[in-house]
Amino acid sequence: ENSPAPLPERAIYGFALFLGSWFGFILYLIWAYIPETWLFSLGLTYWPQKYWAVALPAYLLVAIGIGYILLFGINMMSTAPLNSTDTITDNYAKKQQQKKFQEDAIPALRDIPISEVNRMFFLPEK
């Protein structure tokens, strides 16, 4: 049902967005470049100040730049510190059910406790 194939509705949405974005761009150019007096003589007196035609793109670019740094910082803050139990286990591992061991069957998937993993890796088997 949800395929990315082209549909007539999607073609119409795409064309409407295409026309809308061209209209918005031409409107932005008119607002930014046509002198104020010419706009007043046409009767368009209540448009925002032209200052914003430069300020908004500047704000947007700075916000994108800060966004990169902010995302990096949020990542570092959400990383569990070395002394938290989140590095060892979590709610799903604590509540997991132990399935019965069946002969000749692949053992069920489960979260192995860290003590057991350590013994297997670092203590030599006799």
Binding site: T87, I88, I114, S115
Partner: protein, 187 residues
């Protein structure tokens, strides 16, 4: 008593010293590299050059005296609170585990964990800054749940030994911790 050289996670040379006091008591000490005269002189010269530059700009001689005082106080604070000389782990089989950090100024800070609170000593991997490091930690028992872990106490935080050194420490600790399973004393 033996001493072996290893490397820390950042590449600095560290030394591990193992002492066996008795069958159920072991002491493992990791010694960090000492403060180098080169880096100390470099930092001091950089600070004083910056202060002299400020003095040339502002023509205020207080900048120079302030720089000297800040450098001295900064060095004392660094040696007393930041620079760790040696971190040691004393495992006593039936009693507990003692963790000691000795600072460069001679200060020692100790933590003792009773054996009944210790569930296990394991090597854990975690993300630290932009790296994934191995570190040794003590898992403390959750009083309500025998399998649960209530707290994680990371060890050797300043020296950050690499996996080869950690495996040696881990094996030594496990030899003592296994004894409490095979020979449970009263309570």
């Amino acid at each position: 008593m033996e001493e072996r050289r290893y490397r820390s996670a950042s590449g600095a040379p560290i030394a591990l010293r193992r002492r066996q006091h008795s069958a159920s008591c072991r002491e493992l000490a990791v010694r960090c590299p000492r403060l180098r005269l080169r880096s100390l002189s470099a930092a001091t010269s950089a600070a004083w050059l910056a202060a002299y530059g400020l003095f040339v700009l502002t023509e205020n001689s207080m900048v120079l005296s302030a720089a000297i005082i800040i450098t001295l106080i900064g060095l004392i604070i660094y040696l007393h609170f930041v620079k760790i000389d040696q971190e040691s782990l004393l495992v006593i089989g039936s009693l507990g585990i003692q963790v000691t950090s000795s600072y460069a100024s001679g200060k020692e800070s100790t933590t003792f964990i009773e054996m009944s609170q210790v569930q296990d000593v394991v090597i854990n991997e975690a993300i630290h800054m932009q790296k994934v490091i191995y570190y040794l930690c003590i898992l403390l028992q959750d009083p309500g749940d025998p399998q649960g872990v209530s707290e994680v106490v990371p060890l050797f935080q300043s020296s950050k030994p690499r996996l080869d050194c950690l495996i040696e420490v881990y094996k030594s600790c496990q030899e003592i911790l296994e004894q409490r399973k095979t020979a449970p004393q009263s309570s």
